[in-house]
């Protein structure tokens, strides 16, 4: 019974993925002629089209750039707040934490309209900088929540010892809080990478220029008007997912920890 259930669910995960990957090596007529069979005449044309004509390399570059900037920035800012939350006296600590916790209950879709107007007025729309900024701002509450949750559990003696040694707060943050919180930071980082990498809402609202699109938006654009080509769509899915799946394969343990940490409140 146990085996049957597990095997069944495993099939449910694997079969669609195999069909998608197989489909990316088919021509459109082939796919419609035999959607699930192996490709009769495997072709790499879809990959060539996706990478060259659709400019997916540039799009991939944009996604990497956004994540490479916004994730460390969110981590830095979030951990600084978390440190303050952990070290401040009870009342200001609670207020500070409360302000950020508020953001957890407000979904991005509820703030997007005024945010759109604001970014438009400030000329931050249609720029990767603006996209990074909005990603940082929207995910700061999650980062603060996870990191403060961890840093609060650190014993006060740890920091008091540093103070006796005459170290300032910056040194205490950098030499003690950051190294000790390393697992928590790593977990948060992975959680943020997945969130920023997969964000569709903000690129959809803020990015006009196709040269500045990120992966999820480019993927959405793949659905042409009068002719959606499934094989191209599948190829896009494969190319867009590959970096994350590879990273997952190598950093599996941290992914799980990260997403679970995010699940604490997301």
């Amino acid at each position: 019974m146990r085996r049957l259930l597990l095997a069944g669910y495993a099939l449910l995960i694997v079969v669609p993925l195999v069909v998608i990957v197989g489909g990316s090596f088919k021509t459109t007529p082939d796919l419609f002629a035999s959607p699930f069979g192996p490709p009769t005449r495997p072709t790499l044309d879809n990959y060539v089209t996706v990478l060259e004509k659709q400019d997916l390399l540039r799009v991939l570059g944009n996604s990497v750039l956004v994540v490479a900037v916004s994730v460390p920035v969110t981590l830095l800012l979030g951990s600084l707040v978390a440190f303050a939350v952990a070290r401040l006296p009870r009342l200001p600590s609670r207020v500070l934490f409360g302000i950020f916790a508020l953001g957890l209950a407000v979904p991005a879709q509820a703030v997007m309209i005024p945010q759109y107007v604001q970014f438009d007025r400030l000329g931050l729309r249609n720029s990767l900088t603006g996209l990074m900024l909005v990603d940082v701002v929207v995910t700061l509450p999650v980062a603060v929540f996870i990191l403060a949750g961890f840093m609060r559990t650190l014993p006060a003696e740890l920091f008091e010892a540093a103070e006796i040694d005459g170290a300032g707060p910056w040194a205490a943050y950098r030499r003690i809080a950051v190294p000790v919180s390393a697992p928590s930071l790593a977990a948060t980082a992975i959680f943020l990478v997945v969130m920023h990498w997969n964000d569709l809402l903000h690129p959809l609202l803020f990015i006009d220029d196709p040269a500045k699109r990120t992966l999820p938006l480019a993927l959405l654009d793949f659905q042409g008007e009068y002719l959606t080509e499934y094989p191209l769509l599948f190829t896009g899915v494969v190319v867009a997912s590959l970096p994350m799946v590879l990273a997952y394969a190598f950093l599996q343990r941290h992914f799980v920890a990260g997403i679970t940490a995010g699940a604490v409140k997301g």
Binding site: Q109, A110, L133, G168, A263
Partner: protein, 287 residues
């Protein structure tokens, strides 16, 4: 340690978060009282007219709310049950377990647009996987138009959402189960408890904190299911697939920014109410 330095630490994050998240959230209240189209220089104050209309006289919004609640209910119940089942089956350590955990978690790292495209093909009535499987199994009377079926479309999206995130919640449950002391099971077995009774009397009460977490997280996630629906349903989604987030986006795209802002406010209120009710229910469940 000087307090001023600590405030300084929090300052950059507070400034960005306050300026680009809290401030717009408050400004939303202002737009909600206007008929601004989003681009014209002029607009009129309409007072509470937008809000009144959203709440009392808007079938499209009510339909989106209904769909969203249906979606929420199915995903919360279905995903939580499935995640718990998988966790119970996989909690024991072993080589096979590790592999399967990794596999079940895999969809979580895909983007929602990718997941949407995968399921779009699964649900294609003529060429898709779902009907083909039913066909092959001789169960063609269960074939459906899936996303094209007005009354059940949102449930099919819920299935895709569960496929997407059940693995993530499974991990939360596995963590919870692994913290249950083995002695409790030993004691139960000594009392002659079968597997179901062990689950009922040991596992289920002991994973209550994990359940609370999973339910709270899944609830928020279900309200945010914007990407998945846009990818599956196209833009704008038709009525059977419309949820609150997509409705707000469609209103905005229909050049009614003021009205969209009013919808956002009701959206937030809906989340607050659901969260409140869940907390009440949780408290009652735990006496």
């Amino acid at each position: 340690m000087s307090r001023r330095a600590l405030y300084l630490f929090a300052a950059p994050a507070l400034a960005l978060y306050g300026g680009f998240f809290l401030l717009p959230a408050v400004q939303g209240l202002r737009y909600a009282t206007t008929d601004w189209d989003g681009y014209s220089p002029a607009f009129h104050d309409v007072g509470a007219a937008n809000l009144t209309a959203v709440v009392s006289n808007d079938d499209l919004f009510r339909n989106a709310l209904t769909n969203n609640l249906k979606f929420l209910l199915v995903v919360v119940l279905g995903q939580t049950a499935l995640a718990l089942l998988l966790a119970v089956l996989l909690a024991a350590r072993g080589r096979g377990s590790t592999w399967l955990r990794a596999l079940f978690f895999l969809p979580t790292v895909l983007s929602s647009v990718s997941v949407a495209f995968i399921w779009k093909f699964v649900y294609d009535p003529n060429f898709g996987l779902a009907n083909a499987v039913l066909d092959a199994a001789g169960l063609d009377r269960f074939e459906s138009s899936y996303l094209g079926d007005e009354s059940t479309a949102i449930l099919w999206v819920a299935v895709a959402q569960i496929w997407f995130h059940a693995g993530q919640m499974m991990i939360v449950y596995i963590a919870g189960i692994n913290q249950i002391p083995e002695e409790l099971y030993d004691a139960a077995r000594t009392d002659g408890a079968g597997r179901w009774q062990q689950f009922r009397h040991v596992t289920w009460p002991m994973v209550a904190p994990a359940t609370a977490l999973v339910v709270a997280y899944t609830t928020l996630q279900s309200f945010k299911a914007f990407d998945l629906i846009l990818g599956l349903a196209g833009n704008p989604p038709r009525s059977g697939l419309d949820v609150l987030a997509t409705r707000i986006y469609s209103t905005f795209a229909n050049s009614q920014l003021g009205y969209a802002a009013a919808e956002s406010i009701v959206f937030m209120a809906a989340i607050a109410v659901v969260t409140f009710l869940q907390n009440r229910a949780a408290r009652m469940a735990h006496g």
